[in-house]
């Protein structure tokens, strides 16, 4: 079942390679739509009764002695992210229909390969499959930026690749240490995530601290946490529209998903010990990135920094280690994917028409592009976290989680390392979000209409005669409407997701609480006794 979900994009990639470049976009669209339909089929087959357990699991032994097996399986949180990916790929294919003029076939090929890698990451139940896919997502992204980017794309793609790659190498070390520890206990190698999590949880506090450090190195770079975020604005400004959409919507979630899937269950004691530190990093990230956003003149860089700030909230939710916080953070992963992805699509549409991203040359689009204005203001409001739209639920729950984590709730103590002050400072992020996003809207959307003269008033003549109408064409509206509908649906009816991810979230939080309540976990020495 899950394997077919991987096979469909692979098949599409093959067909793209065979067919002439003219049809590449069409094949990519059909392939990704079929993948989306199949994903919905998987959603229906998924029994949300016990959504905490891994379902639809399937595994094929790869290297027997090493215990390596290509095993897939998904619980409801992973399923949500799979659905998000499956939804966004066709939209970004449709979004960059006319944007790419030369080397079209490779572009869509890389996009579909990226989809395979992302789906594999979320569906992996084997450590090495996860890591391979986690690394493999870098390759297509690198080419997307390096070949199809704008001015200094070479530097951006190299920094992007090396930065994330070094981070994830350290994570590999951490993961292998755990696998080795498991081997030293039981004598046979296995890379199955469940068993490794069990052994990891029984590690001593110091071992857990080291493993957590290793895991965080890789994942912190992927989720751009504060000090290691500088690759993101570079990558975003240089990436093509489809690239930025996928980068913002899904690739950043690999980091948070990694933290949720590996860091929390594997090193519960260390995680709750260092959660205040992680939370402080997030808060600094939120405020720092928001302030930097406010002084940007390049629109895409502004939205990139806003993603840094928003994902600070997401990780803050995880650090709160209570149901509200973690479910808020999972909600946030999905909402941020939708709203920031849509914002990048809108900016891409303007870039396709006027070929500039700087707010000095461009402004006052509302007069000429009313439909575009509606969508942009709508998605700005969604990412500002306006109640009634999806952004609010994620943001409110994460701050709420941070606020109530560790505070006695009507007398009975709750677990969690954070407190009201964390929530208060993170809350300022909400104000700063309003400031820089309205600064963005104030310049780009409202205000006096001015356009770079070279592009003679927006009706743009492409080399391939794609005469883009001044306002959004039907295709572009078709791209944005599903995202808008999802934003409203998740805003008004967040229970659709909240109730479904309740079980796995509780399971993770319970495992962390259980580990903390234990007497200091017996020191597991290298030779394995003294469990």
């Amino acid at each position: 079942m899950l394997l077919t979900l991987l096979l469909i994009p692979t098949l599409t990639a093959l067909i793209i390679m065979l067919r002439p470049a003219r049809q590449a976009a069409l094949i990519a669209l059909i392939g990704s739509m079929v993948a989306l339909v199949w994903a919905c089929f998987v959603w229906s087959a998924f029994d949300f009764g016990d959504s905490a357990s891994i379902q639809l699991a399937a595994s094929w032994t790869w290297i027997e002695p090493m215990g390596l097996s290509f095993s897939l399986g998904v619980d409801s949180v992973a399923l949500m992210l799979v659905m998000l990916t499956a939804l966004l790929i066709p939209l970004s294919v449709l979004g960059s229909w006319t944007a790419i003029t030369e080397r079209v076939r490779e572009f869509f090929l890389w996009l579909i390969i990226l989809e395979i890698a992302m789906l594999a990451v979320f569906m992996a139940r084997d450590l090495l499959v996860f890591y391979l896919a986690f690394e493999f997502t870098l390759v297509p992204m690198f080419f997307l930026i390096a070949v199809y980017g704008s001015t200094n794309r070479a530097r951006a793609s190299i920094i992007f690749f090396l930065y994330t790659f070094t981070g994830s190498i350290i994570t590999l070390v951490g993961l292998l240490y755990v696998a080795w520890l498991q081997w030293s206990h039981t004598g046979h190698w296995t890379f199955d995530i469940a068993t490794l999590t069990a052994t990891a949880a029984s590690m001593s506090a110091t071992q857990q601290a080291w493993v957590l450090l290793a895991l965080c190195c890789g994942f912190a770079v992927k989720v751009p946490l504060f000090p290691v975020h500088t690759w993101l604005p570079l990558a975003h400004t240089e990436a093509p529209t489809a690239g930025s959409v996928i980068l913002a919507a899904v690739l950043l979630k690999l980091g948070t998903y990694g933290l949720y899937r590996f860091a929390m269950p594997m090193c519960p004691v260390a995680f709750s010990q260092y959660a205040p530190l992680i939370a402080t990093l997030c808060i600094i990230g939120i405020i720092y990135a928001a302030l930097v956003c406010w002084v940007q003149r390049d629109v895409k860089r502004l939205i990139a920094y806003s993603s840094v700030s928003h994902l600070g909230f997401c990780v803050l939710g995880l650090a709160a280690i209570n149901t509200a916080g973690v479910s808020g953070s999972v909600m946030y992963m999905i909402n941020h994917g939708l709203s920031t992805g849509a914002l990048f699509l809108c900016i891409g549409m303007v870039y396709e028409r006027y070929h500039t991203r700087s707010m000095d040359e461009l402004g006052g689009m509302a007069r000429r592009m009313p439909i575009w204005t509606f969508f942009t203001v709508f998605f700005v409001m969604s990412s500002v976290g306006l109640p009634g739209l999806n952004g609010f639920v994620g943001e409110f729950l994460t701050i709420f989680g941070a606020f109530t984590s560790g505070q006695p709730l009507q007398g009975l103590p709750t677990t969690g390392p954070l407190g009201p002050w964390y929530a208060a400072f993170a809350g300022t992020g909400m104000i700063l979000a309003a400031i820089y996003l309205l600064y963005f809207t104030g310049h780009l959307v409202f205000g006096k209409y001015h356009v770079p003269d070279a592009s003679h008033g927006g009706v743009h003549e492409h080399a391939h005669h794609h005469r883009l109408p001044r306002d959004l064409s039907l295709r572009e509206v078709l791209v944005l409407t599903p995202l808008a509908i999802f934003c409203v649906w998740l805003g008004v009816q967040p229970d659709a997701i909240l109730s479904r991810i309740e079980a796995p979230v509780n399971q993770v939080v319970a495992s962390v609480e259980f580990a903390n309540s234990q007497p200091l976990a017996a020191l597991v020495t290298e030779d394995g006794e003294g469990r």
């Binding site: 920094i159 500088t230 929530a423 909400m430 104000i431 104030g442």
Partner: protein
């Protein structure tokens, strides 16, 4: 919406039964109130994006219909609910393990009053705007936003839990952003809209943290649960923890942000950039009173901590005084009325603060009418005189043909605002001031006296506008935005149309007769009964304090004092601005430094910009230029640069000379041998 439709049956409507049926049955109608404006909003939205949308008046009609229907439903509900309560759950919204926030409505007399104000004024403004906004490109878009605003406001008022109220809270913030920035081509309007949204957002943060703290302390965010818990605590006399006492202060922050009180009032005067119906509806009658409603709704919680209400009272009083002083020195009519709104809101907060919840809410009720009338009147003037709002350039409108109705309604509204005896403003303000002198509290007497002085100032600046603009010799210069085509010298203002006149008359009558609702009967007539039946009820001991003596009875005494103050204020205004206008200039010269400072709004805006905005942007620049590019990218570049450095250092070793290498090899061999020798 599903269970809403299930309960709707016709006979229930006709029966108009007494209170006890006002439980689930009629309460379910509450769902209709936000639904119709929502439909209207979507319809107008669709119209706005069809090219022909701007040409037809259909959008206006749809909006008026939607709001009108909502008004009718709220009136029916108000009559039916009476002093009872109603509750209806539309659907589940946020459900994590124990945080339960549903889309559910809670009806009690306080809500009914607010609903009547919101939908009533909303409909009237919609009628007014259908003529006022005619000819503007964004006609349909305007009505879409107005109806969306009413949806958000009704949700706020009807909410049965704090998070849904927060939804309404931010929803009205969004609509005010969209409406202030309606003329989006004017940079000033865009900046004002942004400012309004951000300042509101600062208040909303306080409100959000308040919600979280209430959840922590009460385990739930729903009013029913909270009030029951409070009664239980009061009954059992349990000691109130510090955390609970901080909740009111956080909620207060949200209220002051939304209702433009002292620290966060700067956005309201700039909000006048929006079209006048918006100012009338949102920035005079409905949105700004949300803060007052919040405190009235959560009064039991505020009563828990001893310091909360006095702070509210004092902040209200100081804001009233402060903005009145600025109001006196402004020249733009709408700015003056904006500052007067801030000042009157100060009064309402003062009313709530001194435990006269009836006074506060009644002032809110009456203020909605006469302030809306004032704004719509000045809107008519602006509309007629091509955007002219400077009171130095307008005079003697009373004598211009066609403007008599506008002048009459403006006169009545000014009387009400000034607190002229027997007008609506008089009764509500008098209640607040009387209560100030009675309720024991820190410095409440001073509160009363400052209130009296501010009442005088209010009377002065209101009639300063009236006498300048409407009385005196007829002379006027048109404004600059000539959407009327004709040029200067033979410009003749076009009188307001029937719709505007009708609305002004209705509001004028409201300004006079609304007062009588709160008079008579043992506790301030019908209005008092309604408020006492709601959660904002406070069994003030002051009822008993009503001795019979004239001076000992605060109300009679206060009525006399405030009417005298009002008349004196009007007299001064008449003297300075009607009879002897040059004298006004002389007086101004006499206190020139203070006058000019007041004209510049005590430089509060510049202060905020200097103290907050500019440093933050500077930090942003530093973070970006220094933090990101220099330090972090620097470190990354350094990581790349070190290998290159080592490479350069080692290169000279390879210089191509044969004997150099020989030497190296021999040295190496020697070292090895020494090691072997050392190891042997």
């Amino acid at each position: 919406m599903m269970n809403l439709l299930a309960q709707f049956d016709l006979n229930q409507v006709l029966s108009l039964a007494s209170e006890e049926t006002a439980t689930r049955g009629i309460g379910s109608w509450a769902g209709w109130i936000p639904l119709f404006p929502l439909i209207a909003a979507i319809a107008c939205g669709v119209l706005a994006y069809r090219p022909s949308g701007a040409k037809t008046k259909r959008a206006g009609v749809i909006c008026i219909a939607g709001l009108g229907f909502a008004f009718v439903v709220s009136v029916i509900l108000a009559l039916n609910i009476g002093h009872g309560q109603g509750h209806v759950t539309l659907f589940e919204w946020i459900r994590t393990d124990h945080l339960k926030a549903d889309f559910a409505f809670f009806l009690d007399p306080l809500t009914s009053i607010m609903l009547i104000v919101v939908t009533g004024i909303g409909t009237l403004v919609a009628v007014y705007a259908s003529e006022y906004m005619w000819g503007d490109r964004g006609y349909a878009r305007f009505f879409a936003f107005v109806s969306l605003f009413i949806v958000a406001m009704t949700c706020l008022v009807l909410a049965d839990n704090l998070i849904l109220m927060y939804l309404g809270w931010e929803g009205v913030g969004l609509c005010s952003y969209l409406l202030i920035g309606f003329y989006y081509e004017k940079p000033a309007a865009v900046a004002a809209a942004k400012k309004a949204f951000i300042v509101n957002r600062i208040g909303d943060l306080g409100f959000a943290l308040g919600i979280m703290l209430t959840y922590l302390q009460f385990g739930s965010v729903e009013f029913a649960v909270i009030f029951k818990q409070i009664e239980a605590w009061q009954a059992s006399g349990t000691e109130i923890s510090i955390a609970i006492q901080t909740i009111p202060f956080l909620l207060m922050l949200g209220a002051f942000g939304k209702s433009a009180q002292l620290p966060l009032y700067v956005w309201l005067p700039d909000a006048m950039e929006g079209p006048t119906p918006v100012s009338a509806l949102i920035h005079a009658a409905t949105m700004v009173t949300a803060g007052v409603y919040l405190i009235a709704r959560m009064l039991p919680l505020f009563l828990l901590s001893p310091y909360a209400l006095p702070t509210v009272a004092w902040v209200g009083c100081i804001t009233a005084l402060f903005s009145a002083t600025i109001g006196m020195a402004q020249y733009d009519i709408k700015r003056i009325f904006a500052y007067s709104t801030v000042s009157q809101l100060g009064y309402m907060f003062m009313g709530l603060g001194v435990l006269s919840s009836v006074g506060g809410t009644f002032h809110l009720f009456t203020h909605a009418f006469f302030k809306a009338a004032l704004f719509l009147g000045s809107g008519a003037v602006m509309h007629g005189f091509a955007g002219q709002l400077d009171l130095r350039k307008l005079s003697g409108l009373w004598h211009v043909p066609g403007w008599q109705i506008v002048t009459a309604s403006m006169f009545v509204a000014c009387l009400a605002l000034a607190g002229f005896p027997l007008t609506a403003g008089f009764f509500s303000k008098d209640m607040i001031l009387a209560q100030a002198f009675v309720t024991p509290g820190p410095g409440f007497e001073w509160l009363g006296w400052i209130g009296l002085i501010t009442a005088g100032m209010t009377a002065y600046y209101t009639f300063r506008v009236f006498f300048r603009v409407f009385m005196g010799p007829v002379s006027f210069k048109p404004g600059d935005d000539h959407h009327g085509v004709h040029d200067d010298h033979h410009f003749h203002p076009h009188a307001p149309g029937p719709a505007i006149n009708f609305v002004l008359i209705v509001l004028g009558l409201g300004a006079i007769f609304a007062g009588w609702l709160g008079v008579g009967g043992e506790s301030h007539g019908w209005f008092g009964g309604m408020v006492h039946a709601s959660s904002a009820n406070y069994e003030a001991a002051h009822e008993a304090a009503h001795e019979t003596g004239f001076f000992s009875n605060p109300h009679q005494w206060m009525m006399l004092a405030s009417s005298i103050i009002g008349i004196v204020g009007i007299g001064i205004a008449a003297y300075l601005h009607l009879l002897n206008r040059p004298a006004a200039e002389r007086w101004r010269q006499a206190i020139l430094p203070v006058a000019r400072l007041a004209e510049h709004k005590w430089c509060v805006d510049e202060g905020y910009d200097l103290l907050i905005r500019r440093p933050l942007r500077a930090v942003g620049h530093i973070c970006y230029s220094l933090g990101d590019t220099l330090i972090i990218n620097g470190l990354v570049a350094l990581a790349g640069w070190i290998p290159r450095l080592i490479g350069a250092a080692v290169r000279p070793l390879q210089n191509g000379r044969l004997q150099g290498y020989g030497l190296g090899m021999a040295g190496g061999a020697a070292m090895l041998l020494i090691i072997v020798w050392w190891m042997l």
